[in-house]
Symmetry: D2
Subunit: 446 residues, 4 copies
């Protein structure tokens, strides 16, 4: 393991996400910072802040030059940010000092580093959204197929009433649609350029500071916030908070799959994916995906506490708060992104076992799961509290004597027909409709 399994080669296939991983490498950061410097120089040249020809030259160089992150390490260790080293290396590599002097004109390190981060978060957000949509689609298919496949709903781990597997799958899916809506809402707050100079006033950007920021934003396809966000980091913490919510919703699905897959419950089979093997137990097929979902979600939720704490960003720049973001933000992105890709795989390979679901619903044959339905059926002929008390007594009798509840009920109230009461398929309530509604909502989503 490297210091984290995200960056480990050994654990790569468990924790690493190839698509997202590309965004969080030294090279990707350096490349993104060069793009920002190049775009800045170009718009400053166009606006006449600096010579247009120099702006063009820097912009071209930003696309063509290769700067090795390894060469920036030592100076980054001194300055705490890689930008001074990058600017120096960039200038040297241009071999055109007359133009190169206009590189990084009026900007501060944080402008460059933050904007470069936002550029990569934009790609991350696109990936996340696509995965949410794909996962919702997979769950919609499950919801439809199993809209009326009866299984035992469980509360506090105990059989409660019948539900359908389709409704359960829809339950996993509903939050994903809301997460997509949340992302759409926060996106304009997140995807903003940072350009406010040394200490937030843009004084070295000259009188055209505002115009420059707007032009830079346009060039990069971002928004211009109209004020400095060097020290007000709520948009970043909002985004990571959203990521933690997403991971949490996936962990719920993971927990349910884990529990449904337990030996002795077995409502979900291991599916196409073979499950994890043991080094010593030949029979084992461990549900690895749900475990990963659980671990990744806890990780995101935990780190988000530090991200939110880093909002207490002191004065005009706070090294400790800023570095806290470096430690947390990419990990949260990776944790949630990887959780999404795992959830997509997992959802796509689930093998529901309707027979096991039915068997578990029938339980030990006592039919106690139908107690609520029985109490409501009886409430037509006696007051509900009385009905409930009578059924409670019967449940205890069933448990004590082993006589099934349907039998006890038939004996006690021979005149009533309880066939629908004890038929799971007739007791699904809104479950099939919720499954349908979810599938329809997915289809209607953008």
């Amino acid at each position: 393991m490297a210091v984290t399994p995200f960056d480990s080669s050994l654990y790569r296939d468990l924790f690493h996400d190839a698509e997202l991983g590309k965004l969080f490498t030294d090279s990707a950061e350096v490349r993104a910072m060069m793009i920002v410097e190049g775009a800045l120089a170009k718009v400053q040249g166009k606006l006449g802040v600096t010579p247009e020809i120099s702006g063009e030259a820097i912009h071209r160089a930003s696309l063509e030059l290769q700067i090795d992150p390894g060469g920036l390490t030592a100076e980054t260790g001194v300055n705490a940010v890689p930008v001074p080293a990058l600017v120096q290396a960039f200038r040297a590599a241009m071999q055109a000092p007359d133009h190169a002097q206009y590189l990084h004109w009026g900007a501060t390190s944080q402008d460059i580093k933050d904007t470069a981060l936002v550029l990569r978060l934009r790609q991350a957000a696109v990936l996340m959204d696509a995965r949410l949509a794909a996962l919702a689609g997979t769950l919609a298919a499950l919801a439809e197929t199993h809209r009326a496949t009866p299984m035992a709903a469980r509360t506090w781990g105990q059989a409660a009433t019948p539900t359908s597997f389709g409704a359960v799958a829809a339950g996993w899916g509903w939050p994903l649609l809301d997460h997509r809506a949340r992302l759409a809402e926060l996106r304009p707050r997140l995807l903003r350029v940072s350009l406010s100079g040394a200490a937030g006033t843009g004084s070295a950007l000259g009188p055209q500071a505002t115009e420059t920021a707007m032009a830079l934003a346009e060039a990069l396809g971002l928004a211009a916030p109209g004020h400095s966000w060097h020290a007000t980091r709520d948009a970043l913490a909002e985004f990571t908070g959203w990521l933690a919510l997403v991971a949490g919703s996936l962990a719920k699905m993971g927990e349910d799959v884990h529990l449904m897959s337990q030996t002795g419950i077995a409502e979900l089979g291991a599916g196409a994916s073979d499950g994890g093997g043991s080094s010593t137990m030949p029979q084992k097929r461990n549900p690895v995906q749900p475990a990963l979902l659980g671990a990744l979600a806890r990780h995101a939720a935990t780190l988000q506490a530090a991200m939110t704490g880093a909002l207490a960003h002191r004065q005009q720049r706070d090294g400790a708060a800023w570095m806290t973001e470096w430690l947390c933000l990419p990990q949260i992105c990776m944790a949630t992104g990887r959780a999404l890709s795992i959830a997509c795989e997992m959802a796509g390979s689930l093998v529901p076992e309707p027979r096991r679901m039915a068997a578990n619903l029938a339980g030990d044959g006592l039919g106690l799961i139908h107690a609520e339905a029985l109490s409501f059926a009886l409430a037509g002929t006696m007051p509900r509290p009385e009905a409930q008390a009578a059924v409670k007594t019967l449940c205890a009798e069933a448990a004590r004597t082993g006589t099934p509840l349907p039998e006890l009920a038939a004996t006690r109230w021979p005149e009533q027909d309880f066939s629908a009461v004890f038929d799971p398929a007739a007791q699904l309530g809104q479950a099939p409709a919720e499954a349908d509604r979810f599938a329809a909502a997915v289809r209607a989503a953008p």
Copy 2:
């Protein structure tokens, strides 16, 4: 101290928020649950699910009856939720069993407890929004008054470049406007009725389950989500996440005020509020408000980790996850609500000291804070990297010899006029404009 200072009498004036506190009492919870039960009974009566006269009777009783929370303690201890005890006490108190039997018809405890929570969160959200607006207004006034009051911007704790106190106040305020926008966006996801019965399928609610939920929502002024959210808790975690963000933004203001108030910096006076006294040091006036803002924000951020973790809500109801919400959600509300009221008081009583700001900006008289401006001034006559290196050398010389930077610059480049460079008022950059823009944005806000 009680177990928390929120519920302590001794620490009440520090941690307790009278308005919010009213929402998080046993009585308020019982009252809200009765309102939900009453409204449910009424709409069920109207829809013909239950006798209309019974619905009316229950509804009336829900408004008139007083049920003492203390009487529900013992049974709540057994059932883990207070609803069974409440239903029983409610029925008994009605003294009309024919009607009372229709109380809580088809609902489950979680429906009632969750909807009752949402009703109170609606009030909390209104309070929070009003305080955010008030605080933004106070900061807007500060921003305008001090739009061009120069002070030293600080990065990494070190003097960086000049800024204005108005820009600093605006910096505290911008996130508040975004927080208001976020609240408006999440509100429809939060303010939803829960009505999906024993295990999320609403089976005992009968064929009119959906209609009933919609009617209940209308009666309570909430939305009907169209699906169960017993086990998908993202809307609650989203709201507490928002609260944690708000508290974080206030902590930033608290940190800045703390640092500006330090002995030896003294850019902010203690103001109307006298500050906290010491039991032994007669001269002390401790800045209590910033400390509270810091502590409350950390608390909210920390507890939010548990709220997010509780999204891994198992199956159709998960006692441990649900109870985690009980432990965290009200505290986060209280922490942020109290932080808002403290921030309002604090912002309203700040006494900026422009003379101290100017003195600190001037520093030890070396003028090093103007180094960036000098380097840009020189960049007109020499390449910028050269200018920057030259100024760096001069800064070191100033520090070593005690000769001020302006003097050194005048000696070295006698032909140049640096008067604007070393005039803080001329070096504010966008600071006054940002202060103005913030004030305008506050005025334009709803």
Copy 3:
């Protein structure tokens, strides 16, 4: 609910711990602070720092006077700490200004508040230790009784190999013994007097500052650390960290009990405690205790992050860091204390169901749980990797065809006797011995 369920009347029987709760009330805090002030005055009188008669008078008054916390609220709200108000009220109540002037001589608020906290933590630690011992005893009895009761060990939720319920109970218990050892180790670091005056130098305590601290420590039965700990809070964070560890170990037991109690697994019955009832489902007996253990442990673990964060205590006193302790420490104590009392109740009322354990171990009759044992049995006659591969193939065949593994093995290797391999009682390995060792260790513990 009050702001937390710890302080709620409605949720009292779930979350409140009567014994511990007594330590965390306003009255208990005021009372403890008075004891500290009384003891300090007495030892200062004895040492001649102040008139002996005054010291005696204050000491007597500290035991006799009743000071209402409610009367200190307003001034506490101003000063952030209750000590100035308490000193003033104490002096007034003594009605002997000549003596009363020597109250709080040379001390600072933090000395009094911290020492008063330590006095109460001493009681909390005694309670915790006693509960740990009691719980270990209960588990030792379970371990002995069920030392050889076979059940399926589960890894990743899947049946792994046989174990015994006694070994499982011992597994819950081992950490408790280590927790007791840890407590004994940290106790001397925690149970220390704080007396270092206004800013840690004890300057107003006079030349006898060190002697005074030692005498005060002796009077209160605490240690004297020999230095100020106003701003170095590691002993408090160590203690709450220990509490969080304890709660975590109890949550593991809770999780296991929850999983063993699931409908369809049912290896543990609801026992003497009836379980929580539902407001609508007559058959439900919800496992409330495991859920509480889960929620309380998460709460303690989460809050501990803030306690540890508060070690970054600035300068000689940091209001924000200190207040963070007020928000977290009592809650962590209460969470763990309550978890311990719940765990004691739960462990004492567990009803193991050996028949269900045996049935689950037998599983669907395929005997896959014995695969590892089979592979080792075969390793006597063929290389182990070959044996393992052969068994893996057989397991797959069993799953596909429904033919039990013992049958397949007998067919394939008719010459071998596998009777011990497929006998759970013969496959318990070290489980009974571990159960015995645990019981012996508990008996040997102090």
Copy 4:
């Protein structure tokens, strides 16, 4: 940046710790697991569990073979743990199937992975302890040198009373000695072998399971716990909790250094290390080390919440809980280890500025910092409450009129000699003695 700055090349000199980093690489993990497998095979051979010659062969191979972690990636991705892949690769590489079959005999993946972790944590603990000792030594030297260098103690950011810089340095150091004591106490609980087979019963280890574990422990220089700790992870969480405490103590030092280094306070100079430069401000020398200490401590404290949460480890192995450790434990080690090396560098390069300390102590010349001393001086001639009130009035007058407190006191009580009261050197209280005691304690430490 890689996903974390710990694993980044670009940020290596800021976040990476070369010595510790070596312990947390894929290669180091594979190497350590091979050592465990080799030692296990050897002791099993010696005990006659397996052929002695095979044990020897495996042991030799474990020292000689090189297994590339990259070759294990794919299968690790399937099994979630690298051990099955490693065992297979190891066997293949031995090219001696007769011996190789006895590799990993009776063990499970977790035995190997956990014991391999413990081996590396042993090295980490040695490093940490040495750094703690070194840092304590550096602080002891500072404490001695500056035992009586007066500076202003600050509470709530405000000048409180005089202290000495030596006492402040001692304050940073005291917790380090306690941390060393804590480490010595927890070490035997942490440094234990894990060997309990597939599901904690060691059934495949045969009748000599206990003997084997003891022999393995001896071979590796670890303890044998006498029971399985597959699912009871308190020793790991205790260790990371200790790491978080250590990091917290270092963050306190970092905060103080940051605050003492602020422009306008300047009680600590930048020292040998030049401080971080800015990309645009030529004069900047940013205090990078304190910022890193703050960020790393927050990170450790935050991740510890997840480690503690992972104590709720389900059944006999819980994938999600275990993977949480993988995500957190190495990062916490790295964060604290790096914080220690930074703190050592920082402490060794601090440049105290006694003149600035004296100037800040003198403040604006009003002498308010001596108010407590004045009140105690007066308490000889009037009741203390009266003295305190009188001084409070005088402080207010001083602040209002600008007349220094000494002057006001001399006018008001012309008969008293206040020369010692207003002499910082005479008002240091126990500060020099605490500095001396700390230096002595460091010298006395092992």
